[in-house]
Structures are given as C-alpha cells and as structure tokens.
Amino acid sequence: MAALHLTTENFRKEVLEYEGTAMVDFWASWCGPCQMVGPIIEEIAEERTDVKICKVNVDEQPDIAGKYNVMSIPTIIVFKKGEPVTVSVGAKPKAELLALLS
C-alpha cells in the first residue's frame, strides 16, 4: 500500500486513534534528504502491511509538525496506540528505519 498523506483533518483518526503501529515521515518537497528517504518510506509501505506508513508535509501541515516539536527534516516518528514512542532525525538508510519498528 502507498504511504498515507496526513492532514490536521485525518491525523486524529489515522494516528492518534489507531490501535496499531504507525510510522510518520515529516518531510518537505524542497528538502534533499527527505527526497532521499521518500522512496525508502514507500518501499516500507509496500512491504510492511502490518504497520501504517504515513507522511506529513510540514509546509502544508505546520500544526502537526509543531505539536511534535519537529525542528529538522526528515524526522520519522513511530506511534504505538496513538503515542509517539520513537523519534529519528535525519536521512537514515532502510535497515535503520526498519529497526525503528522492531
């Protein structure tokens, strides 16, 4: 499945009220390291159907980025049952991103 794009409208339902694990990639179109991570996030979305893989465009959704103190992109936050449990800052290779889920 392709990564789900989040907005202030669907964030509560898709992440905060979701009972499983969600991985959220905070990104922007002008950010090179984010472009590097983008295809990896899509690969993980295809492979890991047990996890909800989401993306937040920080330019379009500054409120969500602000709420989670995102001050550098890419930032990846893993949520479990709606709670942020792991935060990773910077462009990491696939193996390190997958390790965030274990």
Binding site: W30, G32, V87, G90, P93
Partner: protein, 314 residues
C-alpha cells in the same frame, strides 16, 4: 575478488564507480548511510560546469543511476577495517592463489569481508559537532547543522549561529530573514569569513555578534531553550535564551578506521596528492576525505576520475 572496491557513495565515490566501470572493471560500492553525500543538503547547485542549475538530490540520484546502469554493485554496509592480504604484509606469507598474487586488499564490513585488487577511499567529511554535552539529544530538537534545511522551523523565534567562517555568516544572514533575533557566537574577535558578509550582517537590526564566546552547555526540557556561554577573556558565564542553535564550525573527516594502514594528516584527512595515491600501493583517496585545499563538487568528481583510472591499472 572485485577489481575495485569504493568506500563511500558521495560525488567522489560514484564518479569513481562510473570511471572504473567504463574501464571494464568490476566495482563494488560500500556506503554506511544513504548515497549522495553532502550535496544532498544543497537545494540549488549553480556552479557545476555545464549544468546551469540542479538540486543536490537530482545531481546525486543522477550519478547513482548512471553508475547502476553501468553495472555497479552497491551495498549498504559499514566498513570496520581494511587490511592487506597476507602476501602484501610484512610477514610475507606464502602465496596461495592468483588473487593473493594480485596483491589483494581485504575490506571488512559489519556484515562480511570482501577482496579487491584496488581500493578507493571516498568517505567524505561530516559536519563538525560542537562537542558539548547533550548535543546529540538536542539534534533535531533545537540544534541543527543546516540553516537552509531547518531555518523555517524557527520563524519568529530567537536563534543563534556558532562559527566564524563564511557558512556561519551566510547562515546568520539567511536566518535573520525569518527569525526575530539571530545571535552570532564566535570564539574569536575576528571572523574568518568574508568582510563583505560581516558588513552585511552589521547592517541587520536583528543580528547581534557575541564575540570571544564559546558554548559551554545546553539547557532545555524536550527542546533546546538556552545555551550557556563563556567569555574567553573574562571567563564569565552567561545564559542566552534561544530556541535554535545552528552549528557552522566546519567539516571533519571520518578516516579513523583506516589509520593503522593509511597515513593521515594532523586533521585526520588522508594524505594523498593530486594523483590520489595514498602511502599504500593500490589504495587511493578521492574527494573531501583527502588532504587538500579546495573541496567542491567539481574537485570531488575530478578526484573520482583520477582515482578510478589509477585503480584500474592496479
């Protein structure tokens, strides 16, 4: 056995891969992070000959695709050690195979070992950290090493830049367009950067210079809230409330794993001349990891070509 193993997939490493592949060699590229190197952080490259403008990401992914199409083997593994095959070593053990006769090099990664006839070290350089406690904890939580990447998160806030070179001056100018206030913290009285940039900053009302000061400590809860500064002359400490600290104190190499075998300069860069040859036959250094004066995209590419053509003759 590979003909050439390249460590690092930035501009120098990937250019070396293209040249070695076109010379008909088998090439393995090892990279611990993502490919692309430092240029990934540059939104607009406007000084690469023949290309008016390109994003760092486009440039790097173009290089990667080009090398892939030529048959590059690419692995995401971290190198732990490099050494010479026994035949090349001091003890002169008996030659047991054709590979060893060729004077092989062994590259050991966190996953496995590889053999190659020639090695190209293209490990680049990384942003130099401040070296204060809790720095890693606040990275992405108020500390940044890239003003153009993260500046927008500090719109209307108070920030500081640490450094005295052109990058620090340019970062301060960039941030002053968005931030309420920008402090420029520098450990000396004089800036290393261009006088024109200094004058430009002096004209900006929301920029203040804090000279002869160093960052001693970081404070905050979830995010950075203040830094403790120390005056070099008086020794006095002061607290400065800021939400963002941009570190621009230069680059540093990452060549420690090669230090047993390869001669480094006082700053940790690999000693090799314009021919990219290190003190060990068959091992080359290319790009920012090499001891040199100019570190540009063009010089990284140039080193890649020189090292690959040298390595292809090994």
């Amino acid at each position: 056995m590979k003909d050439v193993i390249i460590i690092g997939a930035g501009t120098a490493g990937l250019t070396a891969a293209i040249y070695a592949l076109r010379a008909g060699k088998s090439v393995l590229v090892l990279e611990q992070g993502n490919y692309g190197g430092q240029i990934i952080n540059t939104p607009k490259v406007e000084n690469y000959p023949g290309i008016e403008q390109i994003s760092g990401y486009e440039f790097a992914s173009g290089l990667f695709r080009q090398a892939e199409k030529l048959g590059m083997e690419y692995r995401n593994e971290k190198v732990k050690d490099i050494r010479l095959d026994a035949a090349d070593g001091d003890n002169g053990e008996a030659l047991s195979s054709a590979d060893v006769k060729a004077g092989g090099k062994i590259v050991e990664t966190t996953e496995q070992s590889y053999h190659a006839r020639a090695l190209i070290l293209a490990t680049g350089a990384k942003n130099r950290p401040l070296g204060v406690e809790r720095e890693a904890e606040y990275t992405g939580r108020g500390i940044s090493y890239c003003a153009t990447c993260d500046g927008m998160f500090f719109r209307g806030k108070k920030t500081a830049v640490v450094g005295g070179g052109n990058t620090a001056l340019e970062d301060a100018a960039f941030l002053s367009n968005y931030c309420e206030k920008v402090y420029l913290i520098h450990r000396r009285e004089e800036f290393r950067g261009e006088e024109k940039l200094v004058q430009e900053l002096q004209k900006r009302e929301n920029v203040e210079f804090l000279l002869n000061k160093t960052v001693q400590a970081l404070e905050g809860n979830l995010t950075l809230e203040a830094v403790i500064l120390r005056d070099k002359n008086s020794g006095e400490e002061s607290r400065l409330e800021i939400s963002g600290l941009f570190v621009a104190i230069g680059q540093m190499p990452e060549n420690e794993v090669f230090a047993d075998l390869i001669k480094l300069d006082d700053h940790g860069y690999i000693l090799a001349g314009e021919d990219c040859r290190t003190n060990v036959e068959g091992i080359f250094a290319a790009g920012d990891c090499r001891s040199k004066t100019v570190r540009q995209l063009t010089t990284a590419a140039a080193d890649g070509a020189v090292a690959a053509l040298g390595a292809s003759q090994v």
